[in-house]
Amino acid sequence: MTNPDLKTLPEMVLVDDEPVFNEPWEAQAFAMVIDLHQKGAFTWTEWANALSTQIHGSETRDYYQHWLHALESLVAEKQLTSTEALLNKKAQWHEAASKTPHGEPIEL
């Protein structure tokens, strides 16, 4: 399994060559991109461009929020899924969480 060159990413924060995560979802979003890339869903250059587009866009966001937006737009562009399907699925997760008493597993 080849690891992509993280240094090619715009504004990537690395300490000792490792990315720095502040919250679990950031690591999760990061890892999904690496897995998709390693399974051939997109090239590393395509990913760097998608991320760059977000970072250099008009919105001010934290780095991994840009990362998540870039991932959502690239999977839609590659037709792995659609923006509409993502919104629907997100609503389902919110609904499932709100209906789930604490102590029981959240399932869709």
Binding site: V15, W25, D35, L68, H102, G103
Partner: protein, 207 residues
Amino acid sequence: MLMHSHDDDDHSHMTDIEARVRALESLLSEKGYIDSAAVDNIVQTYEKKIGPQNGAQVVAKAWTDEAYNAWLREDATAAIHSLGYTSRQGEHMVAVFNSTDTHHLIVCTLCSCYPWSVLGLPPTWYKSPPYRSRAVIEPRAVLAEFGLEIPTSKKIEVHDSTAEIRYLVIPERPKNTDSLGESELAQLVTRNSMIGTAVIDPVEPAS
């Protein structure tokens, strides 16, 4: 006896960002574009800055420094933050101390309800529906499956984490470790021992 710290009218919470990440994860794995085990592996490979080594430092300090131990019991959030392990979500930390008569175990319904500033990201089994439901109902049987037999004379307390409160188990210090320093002790502390699904292996007496 089972004591279950549980708030009955508390339903599960999910932030908008967590829901978006979950939506991506479930859609992409349903279609086979990613697989959850591979994603977990990648996280573990890359994540060096936050992980169980942080919690191990807290445990080793609690074992060797009485004042720190007392502070941890009194105000775990501040005591843990003092070592530089902070989270931006601002949740409250509670340290629960294993003893000769009580064993502590932590569980939660959401993967986000995990003391990740001290333990990193949760292992896959921690997020699995069987663990999340059974740990509360039959903790002794669950622990047995982890290879941990708790004598019936010992009480098990199960702590259900919430978005606001995360628990850290402080395991018992193994015997024959009086000569070890804080950093050597920290190396004995495993992730599962801080969740409560393991205890720390006994140390052979120095010959």
